[in-house]
């Protein structure tokens, strides 16, 4: 059985690798084509879209025009502000809420946990009309804060559920010891937080991805050029400069790079966050 087993494993391995490579090609191919075309001249793009940029067609013009025309750097800054702000607030609120739910078990806490579970499933974009009215009433329409608040509202339920499973793994002895030593509740909380750092990383990862890529709420709440996010900016750029293919493709590549970089560096946390989050 040994020899048979080994031969089988080899051919099975080959099939597995070939199929995976096929899917990887399907997944990465279009992106790769985009990237190589962003370095080409207009002529290069149209005559040989699938060819690598040669010495004749290599150029950085597209990138130059993409950055100078339109609001590019401002959009980058806006996206960064909104994403970081939303992630930070979500993490803080999720940790506090989850600690409360796991520490003080009452009927109310069970109800609150149930509410958060429902909150994951409910698409907030349906309440857009009311959200806009609230923002107008609070006078913060077209500011970063409005976006950040909305995103915190969307992602806190998921964060709470994620952190609850994490907080449950902390042993009670540690908390009791802290309390006996005279720490108040908040200090105890601060002691526990470093123990749930993987959960925190997961919540951060799972919030950053959709917030950066979101199109709906920036379109609805912060459409002005001063507060546009990168995703919205690219969308408008694509709509406006329909003929400047070089700048178009270059702007797309520039828009994709931050998250691709972020993701490849932190892929473990991203994946852990996504899988832990929805697996109950």
């Amino acid at each position: 059985m040994n020899k048979d087993g080994r031969v089988q494993t080899q051919s099975k391995n080959l099939v597995v690798h070939v199929s995976l490579l096929f899917f990887v090609l399907l997944a990465i191919g279009p992106i790769f084509v985009m990237v190589i075309n962003s370095f080409k001249t207009m002529e290069g793009i149209f005559t040989g879209p699938l060819k690598l940029p040669s010495s004749e067609t290599l150029t950085l013009d597209g990138f130059k025009r993409a950055i100078t025309q339109g609001n590019f750097l401002r959009n980058y800054a806006n996206s960064t502000i909104v994403t970081l702000g939303a992630t930070l607030l979500t993490v803080i609120c999720s940790c506090l809420a989850a600690y409360g739910i796991t520490e003080y078990t009452t009927k109310l806490s069970k109800m609150i946990a149930g509410l958060f579970t429902i909150g994951i499933m409910l698409p907030v974009s349906l309440g857009t009309i009311v959200i806009i009215k609230m923002m107008v009433w609070l006078n913060i329409l077209n500011t970063h804060i409005s976006l950040i608040l909305v995103y915190v509202g969307i992602f806190v339920p998921l964060g709470v559920i994620l952190m609850v499973t994490n907080f449950r793994t902390v042993s009670n002895d540690l908390k009791e010891a802290a309390r006996i030593d005279g720490a108040n509740e908040f200090k105890t909380f601060l002691i526990v937080v470093p123990l749930v750092m993987p959960g925190v990383a997961a919540v951060a990862a799972i919030t950053m991805l959709p917030v950066w890529n979101d199109l709906w709420f920036p379109l609805v709440l912060t459409a002005g050029p001063k507060t546009q996010t990168l995703t919205l900016g690219i969308q408008q750029f694509v709509g406006t400069y329909n003929n400047d293919w070089q700048a178009l493709i270059a702007s797309l590549v520039l828009g994709a790079i931050p998250l691709i970089l972020l993701f490849t560096l932190f892929s473990k946390q991203f994946i852990k966050g996504l899988s832990d989050g929805y697996g109950k």
Partner: protein, 191 residues
């Protein structure tokens, strides 16, 4: 090796819908791309094409989710089956799939809810305009149009709110049906 494939296969999910829409629009455009037929312009093929684009983008999420579900299957069950001489295909269909069935159910219903609001990619491709002969006009884009108005039609807040309520109830129905049907079956086959 696993992390190599996993990371690469997840990259489309990290892109924003604008990028995905544009890349695929170029690739399948009759002028520039590899297909002769105007897939996005024809009434019949527009929506399925957009659907496939969305699938291409979001494959990463169920992949990651079910990957970790598969990892959590205790290995002694698999080994016992292998010792008993079961082929890999049989192991997959008879052992692994039933064990991850709850997760498949969860990701199905979550995908249903998310995609039902699939406004982003259609807007990125068609820009608020209902597609060829209203072919790509989904509830999400209709909600946007009724609330904000489009071109000569002025927005009507009440109509927009009504559209949103309809969407909400459809999602509610779907979720309730899922919980009624699937969860009941799950109670029977608890390990």
């Amino acid at each position: 090796m696993t992390s190599f494939y996993r990371t690469l296969l997840f990259i489309p999910t990290t892109l924003s819908v604008v990028i995905v829409g544009f890349i695929w629009r170029i690739i399948i455009s009759p002028l520039w791309g590899i297909v002769d037929y105007p897939l996005l312009g024809e009434k019949l093929t527009a929506l399925p094409t957009i659907t496939l684009m969305s699938v291409w983008q979001y494959l990463g999420i169920p992949m990651v989710f079910l990957y970790s579900a598969l990892l959590s299957i205790p290995s002694n069950i698999i080994e016992a089956a292998q010792v008993d001489g079961a082929s890999d295909i049989r192991i997959f269909f008879r052992i692994k799939m039933p064990l991850i069935a709850p997760q498949i159910g969860i990701i199905t219903i979550l995908t249903f809810i998310w995609v039902f609001n699939a406004f982003d990619i259609i807007y990125a491709l068609n820009g608020g305009m209902p597609g060829p002969d209203y072919a790509t006009d989904v509830l999400g884009t209709m909600f946007y149009r009724t609330f904000f108005g489009w071109g000569a039609d002025l927005g009507n807040q009440n109509l927009g709110a009504a559209t949103a309520t309809v969407i909400f109830f459809i999602i509610l129905l779907g979720t309730a049906a899922y919980f009624a049907v699937v969860q009941r079956r799950l109670k029977v086959s608890q390990l």
